[in-house]
């Protein structure tokens, strides 16, 4: 617990240092980055022991508000989230030490402040055990990231920020209503009391718990950026500085998933079957549509943002299976699904962070986000290119990297749904598998395009040709994550059990066995096996075969001739513009899937909402003077007319006034005497 406090204090120190040093921007940038990284390391020290030994620590801190206790709870799920946050924070903070130079003179000191506040509020959020403080930190997280999104201050960034903050705030209001309903049922705002709703003895009626679940699902889903509530993601994540985008895509959207797990599983115990299906369905649709829309982009950061929608969908698929498993009473399916979801949560944070940092490096040097203006960067930025390649291979789920391992677990969990009882469950599994398979193939295509168009081939513009490798901290930040991608993939036999123990603690069951020696198994031993270390050893050994083949049969061939010959262009003079562009690469696929693309135009609520707003404004403008025109003015005119009538009594002759006084006196004397009688 002390390491956790140290970590949060370091983030706050970084924020305040950045604020205080606003005139000395160089120092502010470096200090904010270093303190952030140290905070991340402290966070790792805080979370890893809890993950490894599975204990829960609960503590109460002084709260100035008597209606809410400040409870802190570090259980395996919270520790897992803290670990994910800390890992990415270390990489992003080290990266920011050089990257923020881009924003010098444009408020880099303010960004350091908001970045560190953002991170601190996220860490505080996941360990809060009281609904009030949860919401406070949730809103502060949205507030801090809002300022990161509007960093550029141009019209697009401001619009993106407004849409983002509005949807986040509306989402938090939905969550708030869900929390209030649970408070009304249990009498306390503490999460510990919400958890009593899980026992069937204290369970709420189905309609009420379903309302709570749906409110929380859509509220947290808006934060997670799942489909239908994802509109803000492709606008907001590109607008923020790249280390901010990495944190937002890598960690902040996971807070949404964390919330869904907390409310759906930990508080309400996944008691109703269709909840799990809703989560699974939204997950499937998010993943396919997310990657499909990503394919249509040629702004690299917008593309990565859509991929976040896709991967959140995949995580939600795992969580959905977990919930279905819990409801149907198959704890092994539940554990497997949740394991896949949580593992993918971690993996996505790592490889998406890596991709955003890589994109940031490209933008740092080429000053453009448009992929069609890049090209040939692998030769001038080799380290960044190799790290980015590892990232693209990880996100395309190529074995033996980490993306593949978590998707393997999700596949196995979806297959295990066939043991389920009802027809819906049996159909649901393979449908989801197909959608996951399509997603994988589309992601593969998209990232070949990204890497190929940006890093391979010839440079398309001057800026791309003159780019150089980025400064060491940026390379280091990206490589930390690249190495982690490899480690999380190859080391999966040692990492999966830890995550599995987190999953089983969430579901409140005994541990399941997912490892056999140096291989992964889907928890009941007979059905499948995967060993990433062995695969990589086999692949490395097999490389000898073609190498031997070539060297033995090579003969007296000359050395490879490079750097001289242009590609064949059917006899015409070859020009750089002849190569396939980002848009052209995906054009065939986009025409084949055209209905899904027009879907988003049809379902866009913005024009309807604009129309309603304009109509209401006009109505309000007409209504405003109504009170004046129809109530006050007529009354005042009436009074003036009455006064005019009475005016005749004012002759100006003082003798008439004396007469008035006499009459009044007489009346006042006679009336009480005649009618008083007392």
């Amino acid at each position: 617990m002390t390491a956790l406090s140290v970590s949060i204090l370091l983030y706050i120190a970084g924020a305040l240092a950045s604020l205080a040093l606003n005139k000395a921007e160089n120092t502010a940038i470096k200090l904010s980055g270093i303190l952030g990284a140290l905070g991340g390391v402290a966070g790792l020290f805080a979370s890893v022991p809890t993950l490894l030994n599975g204990t829960t620590v609960v503590k109460q801190i002084y709260s100035p508000f008597y209606f809410a206790d400040f409870m802190i709870r570090l259980d395996p799920l919270a520790a897992f989230m803290v670990m994910v946050i800390s890992v990415l924070v270390v990489a992003a903070s080290i990266y920011s030490i050089s990257y923020m130079e881009e924003y010098k003179g444009k408020g880099a000191w303010a960004m350091g402040f908001f970045m560190n506040t953002f991170i601190a509020s996220m860490v505080a959020l996941v360990v809060s055990d009281n609904a009030f403080y949860f919401i406070v930190f949730f809103e502060m997280m949205s507030l801090a990231s809002y300022f990161l999104v509007i960093a550029e201050q141009d019209k697009k960034a401001v619009d993106a920020g407004l849409q983002y903050f509005l949807i986040a705030h509306a989402g938090s209001v939905l969550i708030l209503i869900a929390f209030y309903m649970m408070y009304r049922a249990t009498g306390s705002m503490n999460f510990a009391s919400f958890e009593t709703l899980r026992d069937t003895a204290h369970a709420l009626p189905v309609w009420e718990s379903s309302v709570i679940f749906l409110l929380a699902f859509f509220g947290f889903g808006a934060k997670a950026g799942m489909i239908a509530l994802h509109g803000w993601l492709p606008k907001a994540h590109p607008a923020a500085p790249s280390n901010g985008s990495a944190l937002m895509s890598g960690v902040m959207v996971k807070i949404g998933v964390f919330g869904i797990i907390k409310v759906g599983i930990v508080f309400l115990g996944a008691q109703v079957l269709w909840w799990g299906f809703v989560v699974l369905a939204f997950g499937c649709v998010s993943s396919v549509l997310g990657v499909l829309y990503a394919l249509a982009e040629h702004d690299i950061k917008r593309l990565l943002a859509y991929h976040t929608v896709e991967n959140v969908g995949i995580i939600l698929m795992g969580v959905g299976v977990g919930m279905i498993g819990m409801t149907t009473g198959h704890p092994v399916i539940a554990a497997l699904g949740l394991l896949g979801g949580l593992y993918h949560l971690l993996n996505h944070a790592v490889f998406k962070g890596l991709l955003f940092l890589g994109a940031g490096s490209i933008i740092f040097r080429t000053h453009t986000k448009d992929m069609e203006k890049m090209g040939g960067l692998a030769k001038v930025m080799p380290y960044t290119a190799l790290a980015f390649l590892i990232g693209t291979m990880a996100i395309s789920a190529l074995p033996p990297l980490n993306g593949f391992v978590s998707e393997w677990f999700i596949y196995q969990s979806l297959l295990s749904l066939s043991h389920g009882s009802s027809m819906a469950v049996q159909v649901g599994g393979p449908v989801a598998i197909i959608m996951l398979a399509i997603t994988g193939a589309l992601a593969c295509m998209c990232f070949v395009k990204v890497f190929g168009v940006s890093f391979c081939g010839a440079p398309r513009t001057e800026n791309a040709a003159n780019a150089k490798e980025v400064p060491a901290p940026m390379v280091m930040g990206a490589w930390i994550l690249a190495i982690l991608c490899v480690v999380l993939g190859l080391g999966s036999p040692w990492i999966a059990p830890v995550i599995s123990s987190v999953a089983t603690s969430v579901i409140s069951m005994d541990t399941v066995n997912v490892v056999q020696g140096a291989a992964l198994i889907p928890a009941d031993g007979t059905r499948a096996i995967l060993s990433t270390p062995i695969i990589i050893i086999a692949l490395s050994a097999l490389i000898l075969v073609p190498v031997l083949l070539v060297s033995v049969f090579r003969g007296p061939a000359l050395k490879r001739r490079t750097k001289r010959d242009l590609p064949w262009a059917c006899g015409y003079g070859y020009e750089g513009r002849m190569t396939v562009s980002a848009g052209g690469f995906t054009q065939a696929l986009r025409s084949m899937f055209a209905p899904l693309y027009t879907l988003r135009k049809i379902l866009d609520p913005a024009p309807a909402m604009n129309a309603v707003l304009t109509a209401t404004t006009n109505a309000a403008r007409k209504t405003e003077p109504v009170f004046d025109d129809y109530i006050i003015m007529p009354v005042s005119r009436l009074i003036i007319r009455l006064a005019d009538k009475i005016k005749v009594m004012q002759h100006g002759d003082f003798r008439i006034y004396c007469l008035y006084m006499v009459i009044a006196l007489l009346v006042l004397l006679f009336v009480p005497v005649e009618f008083g009688g007392m």
């Binding site: 197909i434 295509m445 007979t526 097999l542 061939a557 995906t586």
Partner: protein
Amino acid sequence: MQGLEMPTASMVTLAIVQALLMLALAPLATGFSRVIRAKMHSRRGPGVLQDYRDIFKLLRRQEISPINSGTIFTVTPYILIVTMLLVGMALPAVTNESPFPIAGDIITDIYLFAIFRFFFSLSGLDSGSMFAGIGASRELTLGVLVEPILMLSIVIMALIAGTTDLGFISKHMATETWSAPMATLMAGAACAFAVFIEMGKLPFDSAEAEQELQEGPVTEYAGAGLALMKIGLGLKQLVVAQLFLALFIPFGKAADFTLPHVLMGFVVLFIKLFIVFLIAGLVENSVARTRFLKTHHLTWSGFGVAVLGFAFYLTGL
């Protein structure tokens, strides 16, 4: 069903042997296809060993890389061969069970094919050639269209057998009575269709359409690189055909690891592959290439067959 474990030394030896054998036989398979094409075109053809002659000639030539290409271009041929060899090691080609189950999980195999596709297309982009670029785009698009069919048909088999391990599915199909024959047949038809596309045969050879695209991503390769690419593509055809055979026509393989049974298994394998390539050759030379932008009509029909198979499985047929 016994559990899956790390393979023994003899199993690993068998796996390596079968993989190397496939490597050695890949040019034979592609040569055989060339001969069938020639015969159907009323020509004599170059003989089944022509591809060996081509490959050895190419290995002795100088390699050339286009001016803007990078490491990806150079490294891709090796990666293609390595991934296909790994799948080859895991296939239950001659034995009922997979000799290398670590890589024998269906999901792993499909994603190893994804590595193949990833690097094949990326090298196309890296070469800077426009033909290679369009070929890469088509290769990936076809991959997207084929993936659901392949995945669904394999999932039906995995559900029937209760496991995703290739060897166990194969053994289940070979030794047990078929619990859902209609479903298996439909899945088989769909899988055959998907495998046909993956083999890159007409009408679906859009990626290396020789007349249109100068062999697509393979355009700019020369010398040893081109030789390895040819071997790699041939090896993929072999491996993918064997995947289909292992799942749907697994009869006649060795039930245990004794030498005579394994040799018998090899013979049976040869015969099965001969028939498969014969049929594939006959089909491919009877049709023309599809218009690429209309390919998805065909693939969605194939997917429809797979869905029908799944419906049959659900109803217990």
